[in-house]
Symmetry: C2
Subunit: 172 residues, 2 copies
Amino acid sequence: MKTILYMAMTVNGKIAGIDNDTSWTSKEDWAGFLGMCKKVGNAIIGRKTYEMVKKEGTQLGDILTVVLTREATLLAKRSTHTIFTDKQPRDVLAMLQEKGYREALVCGGGILNSAFLKEGLIDEMYIDIEPLILGRGIPLFADGDFAPHLTLLEVKTLSNSQTVQLHYKVIK
Amino acid sequence: MKTILYMAMTVNGKIAGIDNDTSWTSKEDWAGFLGMCKKVGNAIIGRKTYEMVKKEGTQLGDILTVVLTREATLLAKRSTHTIFTDKQPRDVLAMLQEKGYREALVCGGGILNSAFLKEGLIDEMYIDIEPLILGRGIPLFADGDFAPHLTLLEVKTLSNSQTVQLHYKVIK
């Protein structure tokens, strides 16, 4: 099972403003993200990210979305393309593997990213760096006791010539 | 007067660990930074960065180091290559201009970087991204109310093929 993290962030590592604003992400990042969703076939997100996606009416395409939450009202929900679960990260990946997926996509927010990283469950990362600084906001990883080293696999600019995409492998 | 920020950071935007550790920065970053110091002829740093530089016996070469501090004991110090001052960022730049410098180099820590950025005083940024994540640490910019957009001028990997250097112009 290969687990990939795909996120857009500012130059100073914020994935959203304090008001959860992500309107500054580029359409090039979004296209890359949707392509990855389609390739992997699933997306694992946290509860706040789910609510943001829902509020904005975002369509992730015909993929399985796994929402990690402890909220009873969400856990009671049933949906064709969405699973609400309070499983631990490792068990979520096992579940996806059982369903036949060979890869899993972790895509926010910072608390969820951190939960997977600190368990050593992220294998690769794609980070799209947008050309701005946000003085306040949500960090790529919520604070935690981890310090993994990475290997740079590729760096490129997306077609807008302004968004830089970093592709790393996590050294284990 | 052109003001340039030059910093090394982790992929998630930390410039040092919580213990101020920066041992993870590459020699390629350091060489680039020293080259920039030599070109610009000065370096503006905060008090904590000064103490770290002093503790480690770091040599920045034959340049003028300006240390921003409010500590009376430091402000009373006299040194050939170091100025201790409690001036505001704008006044520090005016002082350097009076001394004949055409560029100024801002290089940490996060509080100092933030003080210059929120006053609109940074013109360009060089950010060397080292291949690691730090779960805790000092951010590139201390939290503040600013959100400047940037123009990507160049992206390249340094000679170790692992450190990515981003070069931006700040849009004003």
